[in-house]
Symmetry: C2
Subunit: 154 residues, 2 copies
Amino acid sequence: MAILDPADIDKDLSVGEVAERSGVAVSTIHFYESKGLITSWRSSGNQRRFPRDVLRRIAVIKVAQRLGVPLATIAEALKTLPDGRTPTAEDWKRLSAAWKADLDERIAVLTKLRDGLEGCIGCGCLSLGECPLRNPWDELSEDGPGPRLLDPRR
Amino acid sequence: MAILDPADIDKDLSVGEVAERSGVAVSTIHFYESKGLITSWRSSGNQRRFPRDVLRRIAVIKVAQRLGVPLATIAEALKTLPDGRTPTAEDWKRLSAAWKADLDERIAVLTKLRDGLEGCIGCGCLSLGECPLRNPWDELSEDGPGPRLLDPRR
DNA sequence: ATACGACCTCAACTTCACTTGAGGTCAAGA
DNA sequence: TCTTGACCTCAAGTGAAGTTGAGGTCGTAT
């Protein structure tokens, strides 16, 4: 009985059901669980059972990802919620406002970069030390090793 | 004689010299060479020797990366130049203009996303099917599997 | 004579967000 | 009874952009 039966309307969901209703792959759901983003209990046959609110959690995760928030950060944010509850409208307001600030900053950085480029297209010097495009230090200070993943698509 | 001697002023450069003068690590230079972004010949002792214009090539690469252009794309662009010459001011103009268009688009996408978020912060429905934040299809159509790396910093 | 520093190659590791595959369990339907 | 389909675990692969390490060579200075 993989398809929803009206009698089961407020029962917990199997992975397959969660996948179908949330639009993410089963493997992704496993993965999210392994990262602590969602939780489940097990049926007698050792199958995952998810409370319905997992759908809202996944919705929040997906939107945050579109905003460019890394999974680890999302996980942390979700853990700050009282007893790990699924975000209410109030919670969402707080979280999304913080993420919006992030997004705003990223847009500002890119915009500055573009404006710098504007002037450098005609110049073309690219001198380390004189070209604003080659000298990130005035507008960018936070930095660390390794590549960072920030994908606005998806 | 690792340090520059005035008599060698227009000789080719060793990896170490290129690293010092361009500000990128030796390992990165090896890596760029393996990807075909730069080329070298070998000395009698099998050491790399780079023509001076490698510095300008690396400058172009680094700026393009700040603009969010993936290395593979940069490599392609550099290969379109007549007989693989190092970009002249004219070339730079053409390349950077193309990359600026890309950047503009990315900024536009993020801005739209932010505006969508604006309205959704108060709402919080996140419904798959109604919430504009959950439905990328109207503003975003290009897509493929796997994560994409787009880092505005560095 | 030997130590030192700069160089060489090649393989493996890193992060992120997953996906793919191999091999195994479980319950229901023909 | 057998097959099908959904599920399970755990390991390994993907891609981008490098970094790190082991083991070896070269050339010069002491």
